[in-house]
């Protein structure tokens, strides 16, 4: 079977985002960008499924600017077989991304589509579920453990109360949570090899998808800042403070 892994290029998780003074967004100029950490986990899981002999091919896809090629090369260096960049300089909303992915899935016929549960940029947590709806296929969101078995996949999900296990018939969409695996680092030889792996470039128009935004962002502001308070000398002083709060 084939596995499709959508990946997004986002601000690196170690960077503290700065809001632009004119309120139009977050400053991404000269900021370190990386693959969305949840997508990295999805790539890793796809590779493990392939290594276990349960998949033949992994296709990485990214919808984003030309520079998202770097993100796809990272996926290829980790172990994906080929890549598709759907190039757009404008921010593409999850609904339109899901429509593009649906069109690619129609062409490629993957049995499993694995992607991060959310991107750490817009924190939407939507794309996988939307894709599942458009394809009329089942979804296993917030995956903690995945077991592919014949024509189904069993997904243990991280939910508010603990864990929940569901069984989905393939093709299915799985979104990954933090504890599914620890992604590998690409080795230098694999980074070199990845440069020769096929990477197709397309546009949303090639898939007939209109990416005009449905949401208009009218302002982006800093959240209220919290001021640091005081440090107390010792436990006795802390006890007094806690008692003053009326919780003990």
């Amino acid at each position: 079977m084939k596995i499709l892994v959508p990946v997004k290029r986002v601000i690196d998780y170690n960077v503290k985002p700065r809001v632009k003074a004119d309120g139009t967004g977050v400053d991404l100029a000269n900021v370190k960008m990386s693959m969305n950490p949840f997508d990295e986990i999805a790539v890793e899981e796809a590779i493990r499924i392939k290594e276990a002999g349960k998949a033949e091919e992994i296709i990485a896809v990214s919808v984003g600017p030309a520079k998202a090629q770097e993100t796809l090369r990272t996926a290829l260096a980790m172990g994906a077989d080929r890549a598709i960049l759907v190039e757009s300089d404008d921010e593409v909303e999850p609904l339109a991304v899901a429509k593009i992915l649906k069109a690619i899935a129609d062409e490629e016929q993957p049995q499993l589509i694995m992607l991060g549960k959310q991107s750490i940029s817009d924190d939407s947590n939507q794309t996988g579920q939307m894709l599942a709806a458009l394809m009329d296929r089942p979804q296993g969101t917030f995956a903690n453990t995945i077991e592919v078995d014949g024509d189904s996949v069993t997904v243990k999900r991280e939910v508010d109360g603990g864990l929940e296990t569901v069984k989905l018939s393939l093709p299915a969409i799985v979104t990954t949570d933090l504890r599914l695996n620890e992604p590998r680092y690409a080795s230098l030889p694999n980074i070199m090899k990845a440069k020769k792996k096929p990477l197709d470039t397309k546009t949303p128009g090639d898939y007939g998808v209109d990416t005009a935004p449905r949401l208009t962002t009218t302002n982006v502001a800093e959240p209220p800042v919290r001021q640091a308070g005081e440090k107390v000398e010792d436990v006795d002083a802390l006890v007094a403070k806690i008692k003053a709060l009326g919780i003990a």
């Binding site: 977050v26 109360g161 929940e164 449905r214 959240p223």
Partner: protein, 309 residues
């Protein structure tokens, strides 16, 4: 405007998360509720008592027992013929179902709203809450998830809405529920606890976490939270995680013990009323948001604190 609110429940009891969503929905228009499940008529009766609710739709069907998105989303999409907006709590259930509904309706969902600024305008956090975006929808219908800590809870009593049974549920046949491991605890739920004691990587292992954090939490009648590092290392289960990608909490008092204060952790707790931090590193970023800080070795300070309270 007619709004529809997803009632969060376990087929026996309505969950508190529903109440903040009702408050958000009431800012948009008339509030109708949907109770979808199996054997959940009692939940509908509870929900009907929420103040300010106009009507409760009750969809009671075996196919809805576990709120599988494949079965629930088409039902909600159908109800949207007579509603202009549907709102879910930003719980794992809400986050699982809402985007599926949005795609069926061909609209862009607005995730995790913090405020209602107008009939189609909302604020929401992006970049782990390091920026707050104001967004305006141009879609004919609204699909929204609501951050519980950003809205007051509607009164659970005082209403007397009519409960109307609806049909139309069916099993999509592509997914099935296998099992759940849901922890039963006497402790307050994280998202509604007034006091939370949270532990981080410094707690070493599950036994040390339990021996250090639990007695203090017991003393304070507190919920227990954790950083991602503590969950990843297996000190505590995943449902303890507070942060950008875990639970968002805003208790009266949040006590962070052996937690450095990474932006992803702060994203989940920085709206707490009072933050107390205990860390041996005086430069730990957690002190930049803490109202009260104690620089100390937690293995000495926490047992002493528990003892003296």
């Amino acid at each position: 405007m007619n709004t529809l609110v997803w009632v969060e429940h376990d087929n026996n009891e309505m969950k508190d998360a529903t109440l903040s969503v009702v408050t958000a929905a009431a800012k948009l228009g008339d509030v109708h509720l949907l109770v979808a499940g199996a054997g959940c008529a009692g939940v509908a009766d509870q929900a009907a008592k929420i103040a300010g609710v106009g009507k409760v739709h009750l969809a009671d069907d075996a196919a809805l027992e576990h709120a599988l998105a494949e079965n629930v989303a088409p039902l909600i999409a159908g109800l949207m013929a007579s509603h202009d907006a549907v709102l879910f709590p930003a719980t794992t259930t809400g986050k699982n179902i809402a985007p599926r509904v949005a795609a069926l309706l061909d609209v862009m969902q607005i995730s995790d709203i913090l405020s209602v600024e107008g009939g189609k305008t909302f604020t929401r956090p992006i970049y782990a809450g390091n920026a707050i975006a104001t967004v305006e929808s141009s879609d004919p219908k609204l699909v929204i998830t609501v951050r519980g800590t950003a809205f007051d809870k509607a009164a659970a009593e005082g209403g007397s809405a009519a409960v109307e049974a609806i049909g139309g549920a069916s099993d999509a046949g592509t997914s099935s529920f296998v099992s759940a491991e849901i922890a039963e605890s006497e402790r307050p739920e994280l998202t509604s606890a007034k006091v939370i004691v949270s532990g981080g990587r410094a707690l070493k292992d599950a036994e040390t976490f339990e021996a250090t954090i639990t007695p203090l939490a017991d003393k304070l009648g507190a919920g227990i939270g954790a950083s991602r590092a503590a969950v990843d290392a297996g000190y505590v289960p995943n449902d303890y995680q507070v942060g950008q990608t875990g639970k968002i909490v805003a208790p009266e008092v949040y006590i962070a013990i052996g937690i450095s204060g990474a932006i992803q952790h702060l994203a989940g707790m920085k709206d707490s009323k009072t933050i107390i931090a205990i860390n041996k590193d005086e430069d730990a970023p957690i002190f930049q948001v803490a109202d009260i800080g104690l620089v100390a070795d937690l293995f000495k300070a926490v047992p002493e604190l528990t003892e003296k309270l």
